[in-house]
């Protein structure tokens, strides 16, 4: 097999597939804001393949770093290897608010059909079933970047009609004090730059209708069907625009992920061969 060949089933994990799908969202020369974990691996994969000139921003204050060793957190000393500048969080968010950021990678516990994401609480905010981490920089990166990609576990309760709490703004958001839903573009006014451009779940890759802001299925992961995925959403998922199966990782990409980027298997375990 050649390095450029797509890997065969059994030679890659679902996490590998998602990482490669996430890396594909990055264009060369872009300024990318990334959190810890799979997004960081995805961006570094893009940097080592089709987007050698992308610029990484880490929320804690590192700009355009080129880490030799995978950081486990954006506060990690490993972030600063080869960086253009190391400073702090206020500078990172000031730069982001000023409009330098093209793309942000984020996670979430729940998402609705307009891309509103919850990372704060399960249940009523005032009487919670489970308090989660809270927002972190999720709404900020999502507010400031031109595009945002979310990476999530796909379960029906997570792809929900109404998230328990809107932590991070989608395409239709709440206007306070009334709480009525209006379009993001209208609410953000001069601060509008864009919004969620993709959700990469454990089932497929989702995008948003330009006019309505509603989610649709773009590609389904191997082994899933569009109908099956529609059944894994509590809202009425649009599956009319499916473009096909999510492209598989190549052997070259798998080698970079597992031998270059995450040989320690911090975020991405290797396929266990019998």
């Amino acid at each position: 097999m050649s390095e450029k060949d797509f890997a065969k089933a059994g030679d890659f994990t679902l996490a590998d597939l998602m990482t490669v799908a996430a890396a594909r969202e990055v264009n060369d020369h872009e300024v990318v804001f990334a959190g810890t974990g799979m997004p960081m691996v995805a961006i570094m994969l893009a940097q080592k393949t089709h987007a050698p000139n992308l610029k990484l921003i880490f929320e804690a204050g590192t700009f355009d770093g080129r880490p030799d060793v995978l950081p486990t957190s954006v506060g990690d000393p490993r972030c600063e290897d080869g960086a253009s500048r190391a400073s702090g969080l206020v500078e990172a968010f000031s730069i982001a608010q000023r409009g330098y950021v093209d793309l942000g990678f984020l996670g979430g516990a729940e998402v609705d059909e307009y891309g509103n994401v919850n990372t704060t609480v399960i249940g009523d905010y005032l009487n919670p079933d489970l308090r989660l981490t809270g927002s972190g920089g999720n709404p900020d990166i999502n507010s400031f970047a031109k595009r945002t990609v979310f990476i999530m576990v796909h379960e029906p309760r997570r792809f929900t009609k109404n998230v328990s709490y809107i932590t991070s703004p989608g395409w239709r958001v709440k206007k306070w004090p009334s709480g009525e839903f209006i379009s993001r573009k209208e609410l953000y006014g001069g601060a509008y730059r864009g919004g969620p451009s993709a959700v990469i779940s454990t089932a497929g890759v989702f995008r948003f209708n330009e006019d309505t802001g509603r989610m649709y299925l773009d590609t389904y992961h191997p082994g899933k069907t569009p109908e099956e995925i529609k059944g894994m959403c509590q809202f009425d998922l649009d599956i009319s625009r499916v473009s096909g199966e999510t492209p598989l990782p190549t052997y070259d990409q798998l080698r970079i992920i597992h031998e270059v980027l995450d040989p320690e298997e911090i975020f991405l375990p290797k396929v266990k061969k019998a």
Binding site: A60, T72, P77, G88, W176, G190
Partner: protein
């Protein structure tokens, strides 16, 4: 403040943080948190603290678990990859034993920037349309704390205005994040208080100036003039620092650029065993009460500390096991 020696002990430093203090910290998530002082506050049974933080982490999970905290005001709590969320905060929130107040991360950063710069508020454009701005979720307001009786607590959680200069639309005004005391864990401090941080400085300079009193807990107290040979490498001028404490491994189990890595096993164990109050109490009994900092380090043991120790060449440890491999 005067230039009498600023050097105090960990015990004395903890005594400066009275019951009810509005307290803030150096660091970022699981990096450069003043853990040794946090342990000492727990030993001294501090009560009713109001934590105001850019982001939170293990240090606050300890204080919250030990019952020292009345108000938690921040945007995030967890242990990164060593623990998904803040189980102690989650428990106290569920049991309504704590007041929690959420802003976004950038908002918290800008709030500290405002306080550090003597501005009562600052304008930003983040998190519009989210439940962070839901007026029903002003938890300190619901608790009656926005009545002006504490001059450091703003009378409103937010204010909104339209941009009158450029027509850029809706602006959120966030109030300055004012603290009574800031406790910083850093690499080096000079005898007169000049702070030199290694690596990213996170929000330490802002946090320092947002507080009335700043205590710096450093890995090393170094001769002031050595730091003054390269002023550009220093992050905080000495006159902004009131007290200094020397305390090697004072941020363990969080990490310290150039000195030691995060102790992931310790955090994983903490997260796994402190979901219940009984679990927390047992953990505190083993690792906090009846120990002082030297005894704590001794209990950790030399091999563990050496494994965590950072390479002088790389600023992180090459000995720790971070993943499955």
């Amino acid at each position: 403040m005067s230039d009498r020696s600023k050097r105090i002990t960990l015990k004395e430093a903890a005594e400066i943080v009275k019951d009810g203090t509005i307290l803030t910290f150096s660091g970022f998530t699981i990096w450069r948190r003043p853990m040794a002082l946090v342990y000492e506050l727990i030993r001294q049974k501090r009560k009713d603290l109001h934590l105001i933080e850019v982001n939170s982490g293990p240090h606050s999970e300890f204080l919250i678990g030990a019952g020292c905290v009345k108000i938690w005001e921040s945007c995030w709590i967890g242990h990164e990859l060593y623990g998904k969320y803040g189980a102690n905060l989650a428990r106290k929130v569920k049991e309504k034993e704590i007041i929690y107040e959420d802003y976004s991360h950038a908002e918290m950063g800008f709030r500290f920037l405002a306080a550090a710069s003597g501005m009562p508020f600052i304008a930003c454009q983040t998190s519009l349309g989210t439940d962070i701005h839901n007026p029903e979720y002003d938890m300190m307001g619901r608790a009656g704390l926005r009545n002006g009786s504490n001059p450091k607590i703003p009378k409103k959680k937010y204010e909104w205005t339209e941009d009158m200069f450029f027509g850029e639309g809706r602006q959120t005004l966030v109030p300055a994040a004012k603290a009574d005391v800031a406790v910083l864990a850093v690499q080096q401090v000079g005898e007169e208080g000049t702070v030199r941080i290694g690596g990213q400085y996170f929000t330490d300079p802002e946090v320092c100036r947002a507080a009335d009193i700043t205590i710096v807990v450093a890995e090393e107290i170094v001769p002031e003039e050595k730091l003054r040979h390269q002023a550009q490498l220093n992050n905080i001028p000495g006159f902004q620092v009131d007290y200094i404490v020397e305390c090697p491994y004072g941020a363990h189990p969080t990490g310290m650029f150039g000195y030691y890595d995060v102790d992931g096993d310790y955090l994983r164990n903490f997260y796994a065993t402190t979901r219940t109050q009984e679990g927390f109490d047992a953990f505190a009994k083993e690792w906090i009460h009846g120990l002082d900092h030297d005894a704590y380090l001794t209990k950790l043991g030399i091999p563990r500390l050496l494994t965590l120790q950072a390479s002088r060449a790389l600023n992180f440890s090459t000995r720790i096991k971070r993943g499955a491999k």
